[in-house]
Amino acid sequence: MTITTKRWGMLVLGGLVLASSAAHIANAPDLTSAGLAGATLRFTVPILLAGLGGLWAEKSGTLNIGLEGMMIIGSWTGAWVGMSSGPWAALLGGLVGGALVGLLHAVITLAWGVDQAIAGIVINMAAIGAVRFLSSVTFANEQGGSISQSPGLEQLPLVSVPFADSVLRPIGGWDVPVLSDAASLVRGLATNVSVGTILAFLLVPLTWWVLARTRFGLHVRACGENPSAADSLGVSPYRIRYLSQTISGAFAGLGGAYLVVVASSLYREGQVGGRGFIGLATLVFGNWTPGGVLGGSLLFGFTDALSTRQAASVEALLLIGGTVLVARAGWLIYRQRRESAIWHLAFGIPVLLWFAFGSSVPKELVGIAPYLTTLVVLAVARQALRPPSAIGVTYRRSEE
């Protein structure tokens, strides 16, 4: 919100210096490699789309546990449409499929007055059976398809910034601290990027703009903070929530379709793998702002990508995480916020000690890093978090 361009610049530069030195100290060159950067992008987008979907629902005062189910349905409809009509249609198919489930969620919670968390549970449960059923009557009859898998699909095209590869690759090889790291990272982000990835990232500023700058966005936020006040001023929380939950589903469904035509080239059962739930976590992590959701998704995407690569990178990450926590503790002590500082130290010091004296981090534990980070964030940053106040509360117009 108040972070200006200059502060962003400082943050990026600071992050680069930290990453570069950690990569050198921990002897983990992969941490700043182009490959890891590219993989991070691909792992980030589905989580990002789920997170933005969750944001749309929660900003209007709806807890959307059903994101997972909406992604699952979106991945299936995406693949089904994509099978005959190509990758662009697949994205659209996922979007529509997800939107329909979002609409269903809205009907369940608004028309039938069912508790929002229960509605989400129901949707997740039904989605798993529904895709099995749908696959058995469609993909199972296709060549190369089965009851749990679609035939191979065409992917969205990849694009590169002109000359990025030829200019940045040599710089990355120079081995100059920070500069070479930056060059490799940028090369990873600027070459062979899917069009779908770019579109997904554009949805972040779009979401921000609609929610923060348009009349409709104001109405959504009003319904999330105080639906009866909004209602008394002529903004129907029912109408707004029908719309926002449908949009929420559309985002999640798009995330599902992304998994099908960008992150892979087919639909596979279990592909979504809990990303809808992680999307919910990014909301907390990002304090219910689009930029924050992006940050949270990048973190999850990064650790996801990391767990498929060099183990040494994880140790470098321990160093970074521990340093950031301890440094923030110092800042908090300076600001006289002792309780928060103690929490930061309680997590930061063990992490640093583990880096210094611990043996290598086992592969099984790398995967839990993002979840642990989110828990730590929840524990230490709670005071600063500000969720929409009407989340999870069923709105009923004047019961008297």
């Binding site: 039938w112 968390a117 059923f133 534990l365 839990i368 642990l372 828990l375």
Partner: protein, 381 residues
Amino acid sequence: MSEGSPVEGFIKRVLSPARLGSMSLHAAAVALSLLFAVTVLGLILAAYGTRPSAVIDVVGEYALTGPGWVAIVNKSTTYFLAGLAAAVGFRMYLFNIGIDGQYRLGVFAAAVVGGALGLPMLLQIPLMILVACLVAGAYAAIAAYLRAERGVSEVISTIMLNAIATGVISYLLSPKRFGVLEDGSSNVQTALIPESGRLPAISIPGAGEVYGFTVIAVIIGILYWLVTERSRFGFELTATGSAPRAALLSGTNPRRMVMITLIASGALAGTVGLPELLGSTHRYGISFPSGLAWVGLSIAIVGRNHPVGVALGALLWAFLERCALPLDLLGVPKEVISVVQASVVLAVVAMYELVHQISERRERRRAAAFARPAAPQGSPA
């Protein structure tokens, strides 16, 4: 307040017109929900072009035989415990999605302890149960603390904790640590629990064996009923759940209640894996599924947090899943049953909401009748 013998009072209370009316309303709601679910199932089967008579034949032949019923009872034992764990949380409007991670960590710990020790049965089994409950309860305490002291939604924190539990178990379950790799198998499991750590089963001639833990589960159900319906704590629980402000003003500490409720829910979740561990597998391995939290929550919703309702819900769930197995023979994937289960939950919740509104209106009319002294109604017993 009621005069006469306690038995008379009890009968009067149970069979009062108001109560009977509400009971029949709820029964009608459940019946309608099941009808809805059966319709959904019928539509799915119709999509495959399967004849209903063929389905009834194949289900009767493969699922609803003696062994089939034993399997249903065994599975519903697990589901019943998961449902109770969820129901404890629901009393306070807490969604313990962490049942999943809690139960797996609990049963894993119990399997490790049970596999390492060879105590007499009277010590070994209670010890394993205790370990499962303690570990699962302690794991739930993290979410409880975050909710009570830091205001973190238990929905989010337990989703994180489930994923962490998965990672921790796969780390601990490696051959270097607590895992054992049998020759010729690629599944890592914990060590086999000795005879003294196996709960005797109830043998049913010609049908198979019902888990011994089913008896314990029934006892847990009765204890649950006593604590929630007949104790001061249970009253405080319901009071804090339904009217937090009133409970606070009457001296209940809501934070303490949240801590106790979630930890109790976690400890109950610890028992979820025990019927299988003590009764059939005798080791922790891949047969312990994840996702039981969703089953438990659904069953608790359908069963309205009442132990009898939860038991019926668990039986229904196990029954549906058993019936789904032979559907594969007809070319219908058995997973479609989750659509039916989802429609049961949905219909039940929507129906209960309707019943709630109807009975509230009725209540209001009754109160209005009392308030009008000139127009006497039939004596309200």
